[in-house]
């Protein structure tokens, strides 16, 4: 029967099983476009006004380049510190029971809730040479406030929740069996941690550190109060953007902002891809 044959060979249209594909994808796209992408056009249009050479000139200005270095180094150190401290915090929160655990858990989110300027002022108060920490550290000859060290302190303060909150759920999900398998094979706690637990945590930890890093790249309020803002030494890129804004030079401000933004997005995207590969290896498909 040719007619039934043709029907049978027609490719069936399959409706999606779960409802809301159109609605959710539509709204998500709408939301992302309106809230996230549309404003980006502002950035694009501002920078598009300047030629390529001018753009290049603005973003490679000697002082700006110096600020990239300071910012990246500080953000890197801060996020690595957060990687370690955040991992420790997450570990302690997940693995141990002790009094005050819930308060500790709650405190982790504090940096998100404090306005960055308040954080900056408070940190400066503490780390200045007449502050509680500054006095102590001064005895060892360490200056934190108004040095690049201060930038690191402020950055790590404002971005610590990212690491804790990305690592925590993964650590919670970790099955005890792999660990136990390691131990029965005679591995010390440290080798189990390093060779069995860490490989499972890497994706989350790297994501957390990357988020912490990008957040630190963009941090302004908390940093300027403690940085000292000395040219070439402790000026961060956000300050350079701010200066351009003060000069009413929107295109230049946008240009520098675009450098930070693109760098951050590339980093995040690369990590997403890397993570996908890594997880694929672990989970098969």
């Amino acid at each position: 029967m040719p007619s039934s044959l043709s029907v049978a060979s027609a490719k069936p249209r399959h409706k999606r099983v779960l409802p809301g594909f159109g609605l959710s994808l539509g709204s998500s796209l709408f939301f992302i476009s309106l809230i996230l992408l549309l404003p980006m056009t502002g950035l694009v249009m501002q920078t598009a006004d300047m030629g390529w050479s001018e753009y290049w000139y603005v973003i490679t200005d000697e002082r700006v380049v110096a600020s990239y270095k300071v910012t990246i180094w500080a953000a890197l150190i801060a996020s690595v510190f957060n990687g370690v401290f955040g991992l420790l915090l997450a570990w302690v929160l997940v693995r141990y029971e002790f009094p005050g655990k819930r308060i500790l858990d709650a405190l982790v989110d504090l940096p998100f809730a404090l306005p960055t300027a308040v954080a900056g002022i408070t940190l400066a108060t503490l780390y200045a040479e007449n502050g509680w920490y500054g006095e102590l550290l001064a005895q060892w000859g360490i200056k934190v406030a108004y040095t690049p060290l201060g930038i690191i302190v402020a950055m790590s303060f404002t971005s610590i929740p990212f690491v804790v909150r990305t690592v925590q759920p993964v650590l919670e999900e970790l099955s005890p069996e792999e660990e136990e398998a390691g131990i029965t094979l005679g591995a010390s706690d440290w080798s189990v941690f390093q060779r069995i637990i860490m490989p499972s945590l890497w994706p989350a930890l790297v994501t957390g550190v990357a988020l912490s890093f990008t957040r630190s790249l963009g941090e302004f309020g908390a940093v300027i109060f403690i940085a000292g803002n000395m040219p070439y030494v402790s000026e961060i890129t956000s300050l350079m953007i701010f200066v351009r804004l003060q000069e009413f030079d929107f295109p230049a401000a946008s240009a520098i902002a675009s450098v930070v933004l693109i760098a951050s997005l590339v980093l995040l995207f690369a990590i997403n891809i890397w993570q996908g590969r890594y997880l694929k290896r672990l989970h098969g498909r």
């Binding site: 779960l18 056009t41 308060i103 300027a117 706690d189 189990v192 790249l217 997005l265 995207f269």
Partner: protein
């Protein structure tokens, strides 16, 4: 005869390790998070309780508190709504560009808040192409509460989805498929099957969103116009008080923000505790 002995089979359960790690963590947390918090309160109370209350009772401060809560009240539901839809589409369906979408979602984390504010200003401000149209129609978005809400939504939009996505990925779609087979419509499915499974993560997302919305300074300061008693949010007000040599009042307000944050966070901890207890019961 040995009795009641316990073995430590999980890594790091040896008391020496355990208490060292807890100790280090507590000390570090105390140094890095608690002391700054105390310092805020200390500066808020330097001039005594009466001054503290006075500075909080100032009409401008009260208005700033009101505005901040109002903004959070609008922001949270918007982000809740879209966050859930975003998480749903990303975890329940396969489509080209899914990874890209998940990266785009993180834009707000990658953008400095001041730049974020600037972006909105460039678009909706008088020099932007939309802004001109708005000006002609006498619609004031920037330098009024709508602008503040818009940038707050921007800055806090990833939190809900970021909380939900890993959980929903891990839970898989089987429960929902079961419900569809039983004939549930989209809304019934969501309300009766999905929501109960994700409610804690959702709550967590809401609390983070709220904390961040209440505390946001950089982006809001760009689009607010800083009109006292009108578009000054609490963080802006704090900044203003501080600039104006009213440090005590500034820290009093800041302590209030910290308090709002702590209360929501403690509320979260409380709810989690109740959940755990409920789980232990059955």
């Amino acid at each position: 005869m040995a009795s009641g002995q316990r073995h430590q089979q999980r890594v790091g359960d040896r008391p020496a390790v355990k208490y060292t790690l807890i100790g280090i963590t507590l000390v570090l947390t105390a140094l890095l998070l608690v002391v700054p918090l105390i310092s805020i309160f200390e500066q808020a109370f330097v001039d005594g309780l009466a001054v503290y209350w006075d500075s909080l009772g100032d009409p401008d401060t009260l208005h700033a508190i009101g505005l901040t809560l109002f903004v959070a009240l609008l922001t949270v539901p918007i982000n809740l709504f879209f966050g859930v839809l975003l998480a749903w589409s990303v975890t329940r369906f396969e489509f080209p560009g899914r990874k890209l979408m998940m990266t785009l979602m993180d834009i707000p984390f990658a953008v400095s808040p001041v730049v974020a504010g600037l972006l909105y200003l460039l678009l909706y401000g008088n020099n932007g192409w939309i802004g001109e149209w708005l000006y002609e129609h006498d619609l004031q978005l920037m330098f009024a509460w709508p602008g503040i809400v818009m940038v707050t939504v921007f800055v806090t939009c990833p939190f809900v989805a970021r909380e939900l996505i890993p959980l929903m990925q891990q839970q898989g779609r089987e429960d929902e498929e079961a419900a569809v087979i039983l004939g549930a419509s989209g809304w019934q499915l969501f309300r009766r099957v999905t929501l109960p499974n994700i409610k804690w993560a959702l709550l967590y997302g809401v609390i983070l969103t709220n904390a961040r919305a209440v505390g946001e300074f950089g982006a809001v300061s760009v689009v607010s116009g800083n009109i006292r008693g009108e578009t000054n949010t609490l963080p802006l007000h704090i900044q203003l008080l501080y600039e104006d040599y009213q440090a005590t009042a500034a820290f009093a307000s800041a302590s209030l923000l910290a308090l709002i944050a702590l209360i929501t966070l403690i509320f979260k901890a409380f709810i989690e505790w109740r959940q755990e207890r409920a789980e232990q019961l059955h």
